[in-house]
Symmetry: C2
Subunit: 110 residues, 2 copies
């Protein structure tokens, strides 16, 4: 996974930080992959960046054109089911923050 090809600001970011439970994570990886695939099909989706430290925090930042797109994705039927399994099976805890991106800078080594 590389950088999200976001346009110039402004646009929205959903910052999702999570800690997995220890123990049974059946279906977690497949569902996470499916959600990335499904999110990418939604209107207003701009891209996603994701990282997880082994045994530690995971951070997934998805980028969206506007807040309406975020709210629509949150209510998507298959996504609602995944959210429910997240709370009941997979996550020890999470934080979800919705933020308006005001500035962006990019660097690439030459």
């Amino acid at each position: 996974m590389s950088f999200a090809p976001t346009p110039g600001a402004p646009y929205y970011a959903v910052i999702f930080s999570s800690l997995q439970r220890t123990g049974d994570l059946t279906d977690y990886a497949a569902t996470a992959a499916r959600m990335l695939e499904l999110a990418a099909e939604q209107p207003g989706f701009l891209g996603v960046e994701s990282a997880r430290s082994e045994g530690g925090l995971g951070i997934t930042v998805s980028y969206w054109r506007d807040k309406e797109s975020i709210l629509r994705w949150r209510q998507h039927a298959e996504h609602l089911l995944a959210q429910e399994r997240g709370r009941t099976e997979w996550y020890a805890g999470f934080r979800l923050r919705i933020a308006l991106v005001e500035q962006e800078r990019a660097f690439s080594a030459s």
Copy 2:
């Protein structure tokens, strides 16, 4: 590392996504740790969350009271030196996004 103890919105997030170079990363880990320590001492710092997938993307999100605090930290002398080494030695590329957090939700499994 766990979740940043942010207050209620609004506050600012600096979303820093990076890809490391392959090869010599001398001083990288020590400098990164030192920057987290130093950032935590700055006025307006609210917390930080960080994750790096092995061989892949790293995402560090730091949280700040206001944009002035972010600009002041960006200009901190020791931080400027680290930024320069980041560009010339450690990072193949990065994205830095400054965003106003408008909403936050927390979940903890009981």
